[in-house]
Subunit: 162 residues, 2 copies
DNA sequence: TTTTATTTGCCTGCAGCAACCAATGGCTTC
DNA sequence: GAAGCCATTGGTTGCTGCAGGCAAATAAAA
């Protein structure tokens, strides 16, 4: 169990971390504002998927995901085709232009990080990455996990059959 | 020098990190929205200071700092007294109520982190903290260091051409 | 007059919630 | 078995709030 001062310092780093993200975004000339970049990256990494899946990976609300996706679709980087198996769903897929954009994004990212983190060892980068991943796990960041948003009012007569 | 994939994974963690901060903010019942908390914390840690100093510590624009401070002043947690030595400046000081709020904030923070990071060792917490601090250094996140804010408004990017 | 410290106005991006639409699935009813 | 209802699910849109930046304005040095 860490001490109080240590936790406070950690929180301090949390709040100051925004500056890093902003700086990173500032450098990247790609005309996609962060959220869009995340969509492209995840789509590139995990392949075609539904909105809901993407929202889960992004760890944000569906509505936010929907808007990000709309933005990216507007730019022609992904296409939203209806799922033949369930016409409510939309399958997201990178277009060729999307692949191009993603490549460019990835190139710039690597370039910038290689410059900024030039004095970091491979191990340090990996350490930070895995600690941050673990942090996310520890916080179990799912938007609606503990919020219980109006899904059950009182009319929840709990059919309980299933 | 780390590989491309490693950098991309790091960036992925960056973008997903927002969820951690949000979750943390969600849990904290303190009625101060993040920015205010940072103001209180820094003021508590570094003592009375001017706006400009605070802005530097926060690593955000002065305008943002100004608004955060205004918000906190409204709540009576800090007071802004004119600097007798330079009436342009304002000295920020925690009020008794501010100290109370800060204590409460700190208490909650510790409590929440102790719960969420219960399976983290002291060393791991420290490691993450120092890696994040170092990351900030590596990016040299000062809001005007390299962005040339209105000083030169042209394409004076000039990346030093290594 | 020119700088410097701070404030204010305006705009962007990100996020959540609630309301809404459309497609489904499960059931009952004809 | 087909048709009709109803709760659920996937997604979108409107509204709100927070955070941040830039630019113009103000005020007090220098």
């Amino acid at each position: 169990m860490a001490e109080k001062a240590q936790y406070e310092e950690l929180v301090r780093q949390f709040s100051a971390f925004g500056a890093v993200k902003r700086e990173l975004g500032r450098i990247m000339p790609a005309e996609c504002p962060g959220g869009s970049a995340a969509v492209l990256t995840l789509l590139g990494r995990h392949g075609d998927m539904r909105m809901s899946k993407l929202a889960e990976l992004l760890a944000v609300d569906m509505s936010v995901t929907s808007r990000h996706v709309a933005h990216v679709v507007d730019r022609g980087w992904i296409e939203r085709s209806p799922d033949p198996a369930d016409k409510r769903s939309r399958i997201l897929r990178l277009t060729p232009a999307g692949h191009t954009q993603l490549d460019e994004l990835s190139r710039r990212t690597t370039e910038v990080l290689a410059e900024r983190l030039s004095d970091w060892t491979d191990g340090e980068v990996g350490q930070l990455t895995s600690l941050m991943a673990r942090l996310r796990e520890s916080f179990d960041c799912r938007p609606g996990t503990r919020a219980a948003p109006a899904a059950f009012d009182q009319t929840t007569r709990t059919p309980a059959s299933t």
